[in-house]
């Protein structure tokens, strides 16, 4: 092997830790140089003297690459990598180890923070999705189909967004963890920090990871679209209704049959139930212009449902109204008392009649039940209101 071939072989051996593209470029430049110098009539020894040793070439190349790298990659990792490489030069081995150890604390801390944030985001995403769905389950009786779809969309969006963020934070944590490990390995090996190292090239990108990313993106987009589409008309509707004075009319309906079961599905309506004086019942209802009260009384079962009356032509909203109205029911009772099933989104409920069994749900109103016969059969839920039950003996008269 001639001296020139030996030179190129040594150079090649020293290039192994550089990216292959850089290594090929370095080799090509110097073999070209040698070929041109030979054809210009230079002796091999002269050429070798002019080029310097392979070690000098490698050191100079790495120095320039560090600067090139710093120019190209401005960012936390680029900064770290460059400073690591520059610190490696011109320091004694012990000083370098200390510097690297101190330097590795920063990415270590960052990695821990990113991992923790990812965990919090993961749990938070799942919890917020679950919370929305739980809230939906509580109020599903008074929600229209599109509103349920909107809430499901919101749950999906929140969860996907948090999971996506958690994923990003996790990846950042991985990056910092890798930087920490690289630094620690440098210290352990007692090697001078060498030049460019392709950081764990994601060459064979795992297909599972890609599917996960795509699925997450699809969920994010679908959830957002669904919740936005469902929410848009609601917002519009609320805005529109808030602009005009509520047109309230008092409606009175006489009920001639006895009532022994009540099923009410209401909006933001306060409900008062009281026993009727005579045999006839009465229903006094403050009717807003955009709400209809649909009611029927068959076989002792009185069913009331508040509904939008189609001011928005293509929706059948239930829960989007702002104004609070009131409903007073004078109920003619069968001898045995009555069964109640009342759902109102945020109205107050006051029951002042003997009841065998009652299921009452409201989000934020108070619930007051007087003259309850059997307190065991009461199922009263108010998310934030107060619940008061006065038993039949105490409420008396």
């Amino acid at each position: 092997m001639s001296h020139l071939e030996q030179f190129l072989a040594n150079l090649k051996a020293g290039l192994t830790d550089l990216p292959s593209e850089v290594a090929a470029d370095v080799l090509r430049y110097h073999s070209d140089y040698i070929a041109d110098a030979l054809s210009a009539g230079l002796e091999p020894e002269q050429i070798l003297r002019r080029l310097g040793s392979p070690e000098q070439i490698l050191a100079a190349t790495r120095d320039e690459l560090a600067i090139e790298d710093a120019l190209r990659k401005v960012g936390p990792l680029g900064l770290l990598r460059t400073s690591r490489r520059l610190i490696g030069r011109g320091l004694s081995r012990a000083a370098r180890s200390v510097a690297l150890a101190l330097l590795s604390l920063a990415p270590l801390l960052a990695a821990v923070c990113f991992y923790l944030s990812a965990a919090v985001l993961l749990l938070g995403g799942l919890a917020s999705g679950a919370a929305v769905l739980y809230n939906l389950a509580l109020h599903r009786a008074v929600l229209a189909g599109i509103e349920i779809a909107g809430q499901v969309g919101l749950a999906v969006f929140l969860t996907a967004a948090c999971l996506g963020l958690a994923w990003l934070f996790w990846l950042s944590g991985q990056g910092f963890a890798r930087a920490t490990l690289l630094l620690l390995r440098k210290i352990a090996n007692k090697q001078p920090p060498t030049g460019l190292r392709t950081t764990a090239a994601p060459a064979g990108h795992k297909p599972v990871r890609r599917y996960l990313t795509v699925a997450l993106a699809v969920f994010l987009l679908a959830g957002f679209t669904l919740s936005a589409l469902a929410d848009l008309p609601q917002t519009y509707w609320r805005l529109w209704n808030s602009q005009k004075p509520a047109d309230v009319r008092l409606e009175t309906v006489m009920l001639d049959e006895p009532v022994d079961r009540l099923s009410l599905v209401l909006l933001n309506t306060d409900v008062t139930l009281r026993p009727s004086d005579g045999p006839q019942g009465r229903l006094i209802y403050e009717k807003l212009s955009y709400v209809d009260l649909v009611w029927r009384l068959t076989d002792g079962v009185l069913t009331l449902e508040e509904q939008s009356n189609g001011r928005l032509p293509f929706f059948h909203w239930l829960s989007i109204h702002r104004g609070t109205t009131s409903l007073i029911l004078d109920v003619p009772l069968a001898a045995a008392g009555s069964d109640l099933d009342i759902r109102t989104i945020s109205g107050f409920v006051e029951v002042d009649l003997p009841c065998r069994q009652a299921t009452i749900r409201t989000s934020s109103g108070d619930i007051t039940v007087r003259r309850a016969d059997l307190t065991d059969n009461l199922d009263l839920v108010s998310d934030s209101g107060r619940i008061t039950v006065v038993p039949v003996t105490a409420g008396g008269s």
Binding site: D25, V26, R28, Y29, H30, D32, Y33, A35, D36, A37, S39, A40, R49, R50, L51, G52, S53, Q56, I57, A60, T61, D63, E64, L65, I67, E68, L71, R72
Partner: protein
């Protein structure tokens, strides 16, 4: 000459030579070494960095049976050369006064 100073001057020198016309590694080194002592030194890292900074582009041309890599100065490189020239002119006036001062001693 000091390594740092040599490096700063080398950038300008390489750009100035390329302004005369495109050339290849060996020829460029020859031209540089005629003006500046760069024994035991390869120009490769400097050329690579100047290319990364966008001051040079490269292309290959067939020559005696193989492809030879030529370097070409870009407009950005010309602008940088002007900037370097201005800086060096400033430096020259400082150097002149240093030399004058030294000669008077």
């Amino acid at each position: 000459m000091d390594v740092q100073m040599k490096r700063g001057v080398l950038d300008g020198l390489v750009l100035a030579i390329l302004k005369q016309g495109d050339t290849y590694g060996y020829e460029l080194t020859e031209q540089v070494s005629r003006r500046l002592d760069i024994a035991e030194m390869t120009l490769y890292p400097i050329l690579r960095r100047l290319e990364a900074q966008g001051f040079l582009t490269t292309y290959s041309e067939a020559c005696s049976g193989r492809l030879r890599k030529y370097y070409h100065l870009t407009p950005a490189g010309q602008a940088h050369l002007c900037a370097v020239a201005v800086e060096l002119a400033d430096l020259r006036s400082i150097i002149d006064s240093i030399i004058e001062g030294a000669e008077r001693l």
